[in-house]
């Protein structure tokens, strides 16, 4: 089963890209409109570059330890016991992030196409592909993500068509919210890029490590471009004030499109986006299960996989309503930023505690 977790840097980049963009983008225009009005795209531009810088620093940390994963690095930096504690906390974060993904997915499914179907009935069917792919390994998880490119292609095509519906004056004047407010919004908009930290957990599984840096930067740049494009189109179509009251602006954009011949084109596009959402959710699921195996030395077995999914489902059911679900999302995303800062702390520490640092 060992080779089944090995992926190329390109597959890893796709893994990062889908993890970043699949779920958060649905509500992103509203989040940005609430923060900085019609200047959301500028904030995303700033935070995108910050995410790229952080990602580069993660790469530098990983490069210093050559083939080691963050779990090994922590043990070298903090010792076995404290290192284990940190690793355990990291795995808890990943489990929470996986549960967040599942909660958001079921929530959007209920909001869009299956409002009356109970979550308990929907969840097993959502999880079936994930259970299968997690069992098969990272290579298969990544390969399946190629299918999600179809969703991206259709959504991008749709957004291009929507350009003619954009009222460009809704995006003017550029920078009206002011530099101060824009910088204040960066801690919020950086949450959108959460997913870029996954490479730190899975670095050891990449076969062509010398190309990881380049491909991860490309993945982050692609995410930034996609986010900015979505926010520009949604703001230009709806205007900042209308965006502020919406709970799923990306899907609402599809509802506002009057397609020739086809009626209710939104249903097709929303259904297609479910593939991307599922892939995004699965990225955290795999990383969490992979982390559990590494940290708790759990053997990959049908029982452990079953228990893992039961925990994920149970955690995902804790938030009872929309508000609680997005509070859960925000908390998990904030922890994600905390985890990223922790990696940067590890990088700084690695200059003082040089045990295990690779020197040519």
């Amino acid at each position: 089963m060992k080779g089944r977790d090995n992926v190329t840097s390109k597959q890893m980049a796709l893994f990062t890209y889908v993890a970043q963009t699949g779920l958060g983008v649905i509500i992103l225009p509203t989040v940005m409109a609430k923060e900085v009005g019609h200047d959301g795209w500028i904030s995303l531009f700033f935070s995108g570059f910050l995410a790229i810088i952080m990602c580069s620093l993660f790469m530098y940390l990983l490069k210093r330890y050559k083939d080691k994963s963050i779990y090994d690095i922590n043990k070298l930096l903090f010792g076995k016991l404290i290192g284990f504690c940190f690793n355990f906390l990291l795995v808890i974060y990943l489990v929470l992030a996986a549960a967040r993904g599942l909660r958001v997915f079921t929530l959007f499914l209920k909001l869009t196409v299956l409002p009356l179907s109970p979550t308990v009935a929907i969840t097993p069917f959502i999880l079936l592909p994930s259970i299968y792919l997690l069992w098969q390994g990272l290579k298969y998880v990544c390969r399946f993500k190629y299918i999600s490119l179809l969703s991206y292609a259709f959504v991008l095509l749709f957004l291009l068509v929507m350009i003619r519906e954009v009222r460009w004056s809704f995006l003017l004047p550029v920078g009206e919210s002011g530099l101060k407010q824009l910088f204040k919004s960066v801690p919020i908009s950086i949450l959108t890029y959460i997913g870029f930290e996954l490479i730190v957990f899975l670095f050891a599984e990449v076969t062509d490590k010398e190309k990881v840096f380049k491909n991860q930067i490309i993945a982050n740049l692609a995410s930034m471009t996609f986010f900015i494009f979505v926010v520009v189109i949604c703001t230009g179509v709806f205007g900042e004030h209308f965006l502020k009251i919406q709970s799923m602006p990306l899907f609402n954009t599809t509802r506002a499109y009057n397609a020739p011949i086809l009626e209710r084109v939104d249903i097709y596009l929303v259904s297609l986006w479910f593939i991307a959402m599922e892939c995004s959710m699965r990225a955290y699921m795999f990383t969490a299960y992979h982390g559990l195996q590494k940290v708790l030395k759990i053997k990959k077995s049908k029982l452990s996989l079953l228990i893992f999914f039961i925990i994920i489902v149970a955690l995902s059911m804790i938030p009872q309503d929309y508000n609680q679900a997005f509070l859960f999302v925000n908390i998990t995303n904030c922890i994600g930023v905390g985890v990223s800062l922790f990696f940067l702390f590890c990088l700084c520490l690695s200059f003082f505690k040089k045990k295990g640092v690779f020197t040519q």
Binding site: L111, T112, V113, L114, P115, L116, S117, P118, A121, I122, F125, L128, R167, S169, F170, L172, P173, E176, V237, F238, G239, H241, F242, I245, M248, F251, N252, R255, A256, N258, R264, D266, V270
Partner: protein, 373 residues
């Protein structure tokens, strides 16, 4: 040996898909009544009257038949539920094509009625918002009985689609209305229709201040409004010489204006903003009542100037009317907000709008006058 259980599991999964056609959200076509049109009206005691048309889906004998339901409730959902008590079908609004409001309802504000459409993704945002000059309830009930006309929803659809093409009415769907309502800088407009004996008639454009109807213009002026709004639709313009005292029965010029190139110049140097619209119009002359000598330069120029002046004067009249009723469908406020933001933030827009000094410059050329001079 090992393949049999895998194939068995796969088969079970595939077969199970047949029983999962939408889980709890399954809706069977034959058991649903599709609302195609919805009308909101106020009765004598100011209570909301909700009327819907639902096509009958069933045997050949009922083909083309439409049921009309009317009920009085304050909430759209409550009204729908009440209709379900008598319709015998699960009435659903996912296919709603037209949303009619009486003028009385529109004057009190209509955004509140879009809540259910915005909130539930199963409801369409692309339903046409239409103001009825008269009672929507009466119009919907009578339109079911029209002889020689298609089903009411299809009839209205054809009617408004054709009228839109010549700028007699605007195209306004729920999302368009809400986007403009929330912009706070552009006021929405909607098409108007009315019942006329045994048929329906497009009546022009309803003008709004935010979501409250404050005025209306006829189909002819609707074209002028769309020209001022910078829409690229074609306009069928009819010119009549008001000073003509001859007793000719046939008098006037019909032109088709195609290339509407709007330029707006805003001058904020004085206390009162000056807004100037400039047009270079190219028209196709369709009908002419004077001598056939449009090949003569001066003769052609004279009529070009007359038509241009007529358009100019109608634009000015309309702009003054819009100021008077406090409606800004052109989006002057949006232009100021987006391009003159410092000034915009220093003023109270609604006060300033009434004082704007408008000017319109129209230059028109007959690009073609057909096979006759």
């Amino acid at each position: 040996m090992n393949r049999t259980p895998k194939i068995f599991i796969l088969l079970c999964l595939v077969i199970s898909l047949c029983f999962q056609t939408g889980c709890w959200d399954q809706k069977i076509y034959e058991r649903i009544g599709f609302i195609l049109q919805m009308g909101l009206d106020l009765d004598e005691s100011n209570q909301l009257t909700y009327t819907i048309t639902v096509p009958i889906i069933g045997p050949e004998s009922s083909k083309g038949k439409v049921e009309v339901f009317t009920t009085k409730e304050n909430l759209l959902r409550a009204a729908r539920e009440k209709v379900r008590h008598v319709s015998g079908k699960a009435v659903e609004s996912g296919k709603t094509q037209h949303l009619y409001f009486s003028k009385q309802v529109a004057e009190k504000g209509i955004f509140q009625y879009f809540d259910v459409f915005l909130r539930h993704s199963e409801n369409p945002l692309l339903a046409n918002v239409i103001i009825v000059d008269g009672s929507p309830q009466e119009m919907m009930k009578k339109s079911v009985e029209f002889e020689g006309k298609p089903m009411p929803a299809f009839y209205v659809n054809d009617l408004i689609t054709n009228a839109r093409q010549n700028s007699y009415i605007p195209e306004t769907r729920i999302d368009d209305f809400c986007i403009l309502y929330f912009s706070k800088t552009i006021d929405p407009i909607t098409p108007m229709i009315r019942l006329k004996e045994k048929q329906l008639e497009v009546a022009g454009t309803a003008l709004f201040n935010e979501d409250k109807m404050v005025g209306q213009i006829d189909t002819h002026t609707s074209g002028i409004l769309q020209m001022l709004m910078g829409r690229k639709n074609k306009i069928q313009y009819m010119y009549h010489d008001k000073n003509n005292s001859s007793d000719k029965i046939k008098e006037g010029i019909a032109v088709l204006i195609k290339d509407l190139n709007r330029k707006i110049k805003i001058n904020l140097e004085n206390e009162t903003p000056k807004v100037e619209f400039r047009y270079n119009l190219k028209a196709y002359l369709d009908e002419f009542s004077d001598e056939n000598k449009l090949d003569e330069h001066d003769f052609k120029k004279m009529y070009e100037k007359q038509v241009a002046q007529s358009i100019q004067s109608e634009c000015m009249d309309l702009l003054e009317y819009l100021k008077k009723i406090d409606s800004d469908p052109i989006g002057i406020g949006e232009i100021l907000r987006s391009k003159h933001n410092v000034y915009w933030k220093s003023i109270k827009w609604k006060d300033i709008y009434r004082t704007i000094d408008f000017n319109v410059q129209v230059n028109l050329t007959f690009e073609s006058h057909g096979a006759l001079n």
